[in-house]
C-alpha cells in the first residue's frame, strides 16, 4: 500500500489498528450489554399478564386510540426477481382492506417490509416489524425460507402472522415447537401438493421414472421429498434427487447428471430465477431432449414465462386451483375488483389466500377487540392469536377455512396446469396455462 509515501508507512498503520482494537472493544461490550438488556426486557415483558385499559393479556395489548387506524403489516417478497409472488399477495390484502373498510370502527392501515425470498430477508423484515408495537397482526411471509427464522421473531413480539403462500410442511408440523405458536397459514400444506403432483405424474401421465431438483429452500426441499416419497410408494422410480443453489445460473452440469439416470420427467418445485434457467437449459442437454418438465406453484406466474421463454411450452405446474368452478362466484368478483384496481390479471397464485388471510385476521380482531368509555380500542395479542386458531368454517374465497392446532387453515384445492403459449401477455390460468386435472377431494 505504501506506494508513494514510503517514508511514513508505520505510524499510519499503527494508528489505524490501534483505533480498531481499543475503541471498538469497548463499543462491542456496550452493544452486547444493550442487547442483553433488550433481550431480558423482551422475555420478562411477557412473563406476566399485561393489563391495559379493559384488557388483560399474557402477550401484551395493542391500544388503538379513537379514530386512529388499526395497523396490519405484511412481510412479503415485493422486490427482486421473485417479487411477483409477494406483490400478488399484497394486492389480495389491499382488496380485502377495500372490501372491509373498517375493523371494530377503525380504518385499516397496511404497512410492510420486503423479505427477499430468503432467510436473511425474512429475519430482517420480521425484526423490523417486531420493533413496531402498534402492529396488531401480520400477513406473511411469501417464501417458507423467510418464515423459518422470521416467524419466531414475530411470535416473541406477540404478533400473530398468517401466511398466504408458505407451503413447507415443517412450518405447521405437529413437532414445530412453541416458537411458532403465533404462525398460521391459508396456503395449502405441501404434503397435499406433493402428493397431488406425484399422483398426476403416475396416474394421469402414466410415467414411471422421475428425477427431482430442489434449491435448498424449505419449500422446495419439502415439496421435492414429498413428491419423491409418494411417487415411490405408488410404484415409480426416482432416478435421482438433485439440489442446486437459488443463485445458480449454469444448470447444464446438474442436468447432465440427471440425464445419466434417464428419467421421463423432471420435477423441480423451485422459484422463478433458477427455475427459468433449468427450463431453458434442459432441452439443450443430450439425453433430455424428450424429458417432460414439471414445476409447482413457485413458478406459476407470467414472470416465469419471461424467464423461461419458449422453452416453457408444454411444461406442467401444480398450483392452487384458481378456476371459478372450484372457487365459486366470489372469486369471479374478486378478479373483477383486481382488474379494476390494477388493470391486469393476478401475477401469481396466492392473491385469494392473502385476501382470506386478511379477512380472517379482521374477523378475529372484531371478536377480541374491547372498547373503553372514550372509544379507544384494546386488542389482546394472545387473545387474538387464540381467536385465529379457533377459526372454524370461515367462508373464504379459497374455501371453508378451519384452522388446526398447528396453524394449517387451508381448504386445499390443487390442480395441474400445462403451459400452452408461454407468452406473458396471454397469461390466463385455466385456459393458458391450461388446467388439465384437479386433485380429487378427499
Amino acid at each position: 500500500m505504501s506506494q508513494v509515501k514510503t517514508a511514513r508507512p508505520l505510524p499510519n498503520t499503527l494508528r489505524y489498528q490501534g483505533g480498531l482494537s481499543m475503541r471498538n472493544t469497548k463499543a462491542v461490550w456496550l452493544a452486547l450489554l444493550a442487547l442483553a438488556v433488550a433481550g431480558a426486557s423482551l422475555t420478562v415483558g411477557y412473563a406476566a399478564p399485561v393489563r391495559v385499559g379493559p384488557v388483560t393479556d399474557d402477550w401484551g395489548v395493542v391500544r388503538v386510540a379513537r379514530g386512529q387506524p388499526i395497523i396490519l403489516a405484511y412481510w412479503l417478497v415485493v422486490a427482486g426477481p421473485d417479487a411477483s409472488l409477494g406483490v400478488d399477495s399484497r394486492r389480495g390484502i389491499e382488496i380485502a382492506i377495500d372490501d372491509k373498510k373498517t375493523v371494530a370502527g377503525h380504518p385499516i392501515r397496511l404497512i410492510g417490509e420486503d423479505t427477499g425470498c430468503n432467510a436473511e430477508g425474512g429475519q430482517t423484515a420480521a425484526t423490523k416489524l417486531a420493533a413496531n408495537r402498534q402492529i396488531v397482526a401480520a400477513v406473511g411471509s411469501s417464501c417458507s425460507s423467510e418464515a423459518v427464522p422470521g416467524a419466531p421473531i414475530l411470535c416473541k413480539a406477540g404478533i400473530v402472522t398468517v401466511s398466504p403462500s408458505n407451503t413447507a410442511p415443517r412450518l405447521t408440523d405437529p413437532k414445530r415447537g412453541p416458537e411458532y405458536a403465533c404462525y398460521l397459514r391459508t396456503a395449502h400444506n405441501d404434503l397435499v401438493q406433493g402428493r397431488a403432483a406425484a399422483m398426476f405424474v403416475y396416474h394421469v401421465l402414466g410415467l414411471r421414472r422421475a428425477a427431482t431438483i430442489h434449491d435448498g429452500s424449505p419449500y422446495a426441499e419439502g415439496l421435492a421429498n414429498v413428491f419423491a416419497d409418494v411417487f415411490k410408494r405408488l410404484g415409480g422410480t426416482i432416478t435421482s434427487q438433485e439440489a442446486v443453489s437459488p443463485t445458480d445460473t449454469d444448470m447444464r452440469p446438474v442436468l447432465t447428471r440427471i440425464a445419466a439416470g434417464r428419467p421421463q420427467l423432471i420435477y423441480y418445485p423451485i422459484f422463478i430465477a433458477a427455475g427459468g434457467h433449468i427450463t431453458r437449459q434442459a432441452k439443450e442437454v443430450s439425453g433430455l431432449e424428450n424429458v417432460r418438465l414439471m414445476s409447482a406453484d413457485g413458478t406459476f406466474s407470467p414472470d416465469f414465462w419471461k424467464a423461461a421463454g419458449e422453452a416453457a411450452k408444454g411444461m406442467y405446474n401444480s398450483s392452487p386451483d384458481l378456476s371459478v368452478e372450484a372457487l365459486g362466484p366470489r372469486y369471479q368478483q374478486f378478479l373483477q375488483k383486481h382488474q379494476r384496481k390494477y388493470g391486469e390479471r393476478p401475477l401469481s397464485a396466492f392473491h385469494a389466500h392473502a385476501y382470506d388471510a386478511a379477512m380472517m385476521i379482521f374477523a378475529a380482531i372484531e371478536k377480541v377487540a374491547r372498547k373503553d368509555a372514550q372509544g379507544n380500542t384494546y386488542i389482546g395479542r394472545k387473545a387474538l392469536r387464540d381467536a385465529l386458531f379457533a377459526t372454524r368454517n370461515f367462508p373464504g374465497i379459497t374455501g371453508n377455512l378451519t384452522c388446526n392446532p398447528f396453524g394449517d387453515c387451508a381448504d386445499p384445492k390443487i390442480a395441474v396446469y400445462q403451459t400452452i403459449s408461454a407468452d406473458p401477455a396471454k397469461w390466463n390460468p385455466g385456459t393458458d396455462p391450461k388446467k388439465l386435472w384437479s386433485m380429487p377431494r378427499q
Binding site: M1, P81, E242, D248, T249, P253, T256, R257
Partner: protein, 358 residues
C-alpha cells in the same frame, strides 16, 4: 525474524500447524482420489457426458475469466480489489437489453445476427466502461492515499449504490434476453457436438483475452500500464501520467466486463439488477486462483474454476455416495480457493511480490 540471529539457536520443529496442514493436504488428496476412483468404477456417465461437463465448464469459465480480467488488472496497478466490478458487468448487460429487445422486435436481430451481436457488445462495453471510469473517479481516486481498507469499503459501497441505482432505473424484476435463431442448437466441431451459444462464448472470450494480452504486452499504453504496476513513483518520474493509466485500466476492465455481460446474456438469457453479485465473487475467486495481478493467470483461473465447478461434483463426490452433489459445487470451488491461499498464496501463475510492492 529480524532478531532471530541474536536469539538462542532455534531449530524449527514440526509444529502443530504444520501437522494440521499436512493432514489437510492428505485429506483432500484422499477424498479426491477416492471419489474419482469410485465415480469411474460406478460408470454412471458416458464419455459423451464427461465431454459435456467439460465444455459446459469451459463456457462458464470463459465468462468468469473475462470478468476476472478487470479484477486482476486493477489489483495489478492499484493493489486494491474493485468489489464494484460485478456491478460493472451487470450494468452493461442490463442496459444492452434495452437495445436487444427492440432489435428483436423489429426482426433485425435475426436478419443480421452478427451485426446485432456487435452492436450489443459495443453498447454493453460502452456502458460498462463509463460506469467503471465513473466509479474510479468518484469512489477511488479521492482515496488513493488513504489506508488500504478505505477503498475496499468504498468499493462495497459503490457496489450497493450501483445495484440499487439500477434497480431504481430498470425495476426489480428480471428481463429475458431475446434469442438468436443463429445460435440455437449445436455445431459439430472436430466430431464433438457443442452448443452454439457456448461455442460463441468460448471463441469470443478467447479472442478478447488474446487481444487484451497483446495490448498490454505490445503497445505503448500497455507498457505504461506495466510500468505503473511495477512502481508508480518511478513511472511518474519517467513521464507517465499515472492517473491516465489508471483510468485506462478501469476502462479496459470495464469493457471486458461489458463484453462478458453480453456473453452471459447469450447463454443464460436473464438479466436483473442483482445478477452481478455471484459472477463477481466467482470471478474474484478466479483472479486469486490464477494469481491476482497476472493477466494470463486470470484467464487460466477463470477457465479452471468453471471446469472444476462443472466436472468436480460429478467426479469427486458421486463416488463418495454424496446425494445431490451439485449443491456442493460452491464448496468445491471455495475449498480450492482455500487450498491455493494456504499452499500457494501467490496463485497458480502469480509471482511472489517484491517487498516494496506488497
Amino acid at each position: 525474524m529480524a532478531t532471530g540471529a541474536a536469539a538462542a539457536p532455534r531449530v524449527r520443529r514440526f509444529s502443530f500447524v504444520d501437522a494440521f496442514l499436512w493432514a489437510f493436504r492428505l485429506a483432500v488428496v484422499v477424498v479426491v482420489v477416492w471419489g474419482t476412483v469410485g465415480t469411474l468404477r460406478l460408470g454412471r456417465y458416458t464419455a459423451e457426458q464427461w465431454k459435456d461437463f467439460f465444455v459446459f465448464g469451459l463456457a462458464q469459465g470463459g465468462i468468469y475469466a473475462l470478468i476476472a480480467l478487470g479484477y486482476t488488472m486493477v489489483y495489478g496497478i492499484l493493489r486494491m480489489i474493485n468489489f464494484a466490478h460485478g456491478e460493472v458487468f451487470m450494468s452493461g448487460a442490463y442496459t444492452a437489453y434495452f437495445v436487444a429487445a427492440p432489435l428483436a422486435a423489429s426482426g433485425f436481430l435475426n436478419r443480421h445476427p452478427l451485426a446485432s451481436l456487435v452492436i450489443l457488445l459495443a453498447v454493453s462495453a460502452a456502458v460498462s466502461t463509463a460506469i467503471a471510469v465513473l466509479v474510479e473517479r468518484v469512489a477511488y481516486r479521492p482515496l488513493r492515499r488513504a489506508p488500504r481498507l478505505v477503498p475496499l469499503i468504498t468499493a462495497i459501497g459503490a457496489s450497493f449504490f450501483l445495484q440499487y441505482a439500477f434497480r431504481g432505473l430498470y425495476g426489480s424484476g428480471f428481463r429475458a434476453y431475446p434469442e438468436f435463431e443463429l445460435f440455437k442448437g449445436e455445431w459439430e466441431i472436430l466430431g464433438v457436438g457443442i452448443l452454439r451459444t457456448q461455442a460463441v462464448v468460448l471463441v469470443s472470450a478467447a479472442a478478447l483475452m488474446l487481444a487484451l494480452y497483446q495490448f498490454v504486452m505490445r503497445t505503448k499504453a500497455g507498457k505504461a500500464m506495466r510500468a505503473v504496476s511495477e512502481d508508480k513513483d518511478a513511472a511518474a518520474l519517467m513521464g507517465i501520467d499515472v492517473d491516465r493509466i489508471i483510468v485506462l485500466t478501469f476502462a479496459i476492465g470495464g469493457a471486458a466486463a461489458g463484453a462478458a455481460g453480453i456473453l452471459y446474456a447469450l447463454v443464460f438469457k436473464q438479466v436483473h439488477f442483482f445478477m452481478g453479485f455471484v459472477p463477481g465473487i466467482k470471478a474474484f475467486t478466479s483472479a486469486v486462483l490464477g494469481g491476482i495481478g497476472n493477466i494470463p493467470g486470470a484467464m487460466l483461473g477463470g477457465m479452471f474454476l468453471g471446469v472444476v465447478e462443472s466436472v468436480g461434483p460429478a467426479l469427486f463426490l458421486d463416488g463418495l455416495g454424496i446425494p445431490a452433489p451439485y449443491q456442493l459445487k460452491d464448496v468445491i470451488a471455495f475449498i480450492m480457493l482455500v487450498m491455493v491461499l494456504i499452499f500457494r498464496p501467490q496463485g497458480i501463475l502469480g509471482e511472489r511480490l517484491a517487498g516494496k510492492r506488497a
